[in-house]
Symmetry: C2
Subunit: 420 residues, 2 copies
């Protein structure tokens, strides 16, 4: 017979780490993704705010896997899974048979039942999301420069970020710096320092997964950057003209959604039980109930920590799960006992606020301010893939740090507001 | 009264050089472009072939002009010119009044009366063109990897470039290198060295504006890279399935147009006489007949050399014209005699063939091969704008040179074949 065929759907952190950890095992791996690149999502907000270019945080999957002769990379969109027949179904009619299947298809943004808000408040999950947001932010300033009416101009110079988690905090801080520092002096009819950046959070503090002191620190750091932080204010309405929250309506022509995610359609493909966000409820060993040959990992899986809390949708969690499934499969193939149930180990939390402040909470190590920002930078550069990319991103950050100038300020895809 | 108001339409080489040369003159300048960035077009083919990222060859116009307090930059699309009322008409209803107007709106691709070919054979004039071509090239290999039928697979692995001028030669050579070197080893079902790159030229030699010996050199260098060069073969048909030339039909799923350009609509805006490619026929001082307050420069102007040959549509010509018009205007404002008619000074021609060969013909200096490539590289880096960009592009090229790896291999804007 042939080798054990493993199919991995999704080339994000979970899928890639699983594939890496299978190196040398007696398997033939097929990696399928609907995009040709692996995306370093933690830095996506920097593309959206012109600090980094798209090619600095995304790398072709087949290039990353080129040294693995046991791995075939396919560009394809999965439309379903035939679990009885053990094959993955692709758009256009292709099928990919498997002996073991690993689903790592991630998350997308969710609007709490208000999908009609999406055109007015794009989320930040893909490269196209990032360049769309970038285009809207830059266009707002361009339009304001030409706008004679003071009220319309003020609405153009008002940007709202919805959601006070790490993504929202990072976006709000960087947009404020972009307006205040990078763009200052480039306009003649407007003063970009009059830009109003508003971060709206429904809960009572920012960074709710962090320590209370860090939530307070982040709020102060944002306010020092000129950001208006609105806590305890759930959003009730989002339109092309602005956002309603806390009983008032704020005219704003640019709104960004960082408030909710939902899982990929994996649960539907499998007909499996899912939680409220659509994540597949998996067994303790990350397999699908009733299908010991199918594993689901990363943001699209619902996994619990030993204390019952959900495992967060962060990169380290996806990577740990990828390694765990690889260990299970290698044990099976070798006929030995496996590693047992998955136990998430939470390393810590990190978030930046602009380019001079950050919060890091590793439990044993808590840092804020300047030292935290440098450690954050070093850690992210370390986790980037490839020497050239580490060099490129380091240079980009060094340039921003020293000169305040951001080098990826392109409005592409025409000047319209089309989403792609 | 106020200062003399100058309006410049177009932030390409001509418009920017004119603006630069007006520094310190008693004028208020308004620069209008429908894009927010200045594009370094000579390197656009490198974005299309994944060697450079978009942000390495395009820079925000208002950033380039930030130090000029006399210059206001506006993002806007011109729809017409009211020459009697002396104002520029913008999409959306804005008007920009002028005392002197400089039109530098460049060229776009033209299909010799076959506009229906455009969806199947995109040209290369804007950043979106470059990323569209890049996406199609990369998708062709991705689809070939999944294609079972040998004939369809061969059509996917056949790429045609139409037009044997510098752009076509540069594209064909770099695509061949991309397939042969960069992508080799990354696919499991196809061997990218079997890619067929065909360069089709209607005339009897490549680089018809260059010396005969250079045309022959370029053909040999391309053939050494594995490119098939078809001379004396005008194209008669372009479809989604392939190209017809020289009495035969070649099945090819990726075709790129580098064979013809036409001017922007400036002549229509002005109701002025134009040549066959739509270029405005200007006076010897580059003004529009009957409108001494309107100048047209660059690719959108039809200008003759002293010997009667047309001035080529190259960056140095646009820059020389920009400087000439600035000299005329400064003389007028100071009440002295102007510099007289414009006289184009042809510095020379340059083209690269892959990363190890090039042709340079400066008249007094003719180079081919490796030394030409290095000089070409140094010259282009010199003409880039800004230290950071020179550093970034130098690093990108050094990386490609040493490792063969190209770092901008992203398929963005989804996986479809939509043009934007």
């Amino acid at each position: 017979m042939g080798e054990h065929r493993v199919v991995v759907v999704g080339a994000g952190f979970g899928g890639l780490e699983f594939t890496r950890a299978m190196g040398g095992a007696p398997v033939a791996v097929t990696m399928i993704d609907r995009r040709n690149h692996h995306l370093f999502q933690p830095l996506l907000y920097q593309v959206a705010t012109t600090s980094l270019a798209t090619s600095e945080i995304a790398w072709p999957v087949r290039h990353l896997l080129r040294g693995r002769k046991d791995v075939t990379t396919l560009l394809g969109t999965v439309t379903g899974i035939d679990a009885a027949g053990r094959q993955v179904l692709l758009e256009g009619g292709g099928v990919v048979p498997y002996d073991t299947l690993v689903i790592a298809t991630g998350a997308r943004h969710a609007y709490f039942g208000h999908d009609e808000w999406e055109p007015f408040a794009p989320g930040l999950k893909t490269l196209e999301d990032a360049t769309t947001i970038r285009r809207r932010i830059l266009l707002a300033f361009e339009k304001a420069e030409r706008e004679q009416d003071p009220e319309r101009r003020q609405a153009l110079l008002t940007l709202v970020v919805i959601g006070g988690g790490p993504t929202g905090v990072e976006l709000a801080g960087t947009i404020a710096e972009l307006a205040r520092d990078t763009l200052r002096g480039e306009f003649r009819n407007i003063d970009t320092r009059e830009t109003k950046v508003v971060l709206v959070e429904a809960g009572d503090r920012l960074l709710s997964a962090f320590d209370q002191k860090h939530s307070a620190y982040a709020k102060q750091a944002l306010e020092r950057l000129g950001v208006t932080v609105e806590l305890g204010k759930p959003v009730s309405q989002v339109t092309a003209d602005g956002v309603a929250f806390g009983g008032a309506f704020l005219p704003a022509r640019t709104t960004i959604w960082a408030a909710g995610v939902a899982a990929s359609p994996a649960a539907q493909w499998l007909g499996a039980a899912a939680d409220r966000a659509g994540r597949v409820i998996v067994e303790p060993d990350l397999s699908v109930p009733g299908h010991s040959d199918i594993f689901v990992i990363g943001d699209t899986a619902s996994v619990k920590r030993p204390d019952g809390r959900p495992v967060p949708g962060v990169a380290p969690a996806a990577k740990q799960q990828g390694r765990h499934v690889a260990a299970i499969l290698r044990a099976r193939l070798a006929g030995r006992a496996g590693p047992g149930p998955f136990a998430y180990r939470h390393d810590g939390d990190l978030a930046t606020i602009g380019k001079r402040a950050a919060v890091i909470d590793f439990g044993w190590l808590k840092l804020t301010g300047w030292p935290a920002w440098w450690l954050w930078g070093v850690a992210h550069i370390y986790f980037l893939i490839g020497f050239r990319n580490r060099l490129a991103v380091s240079l980009s950050w060094l340039w921003i740090y020293v000169t305040g100038q951001r080098s990826a300020r392109l409005i592409t895809q025409g000047d319209g507001d089309s989403a792609t």
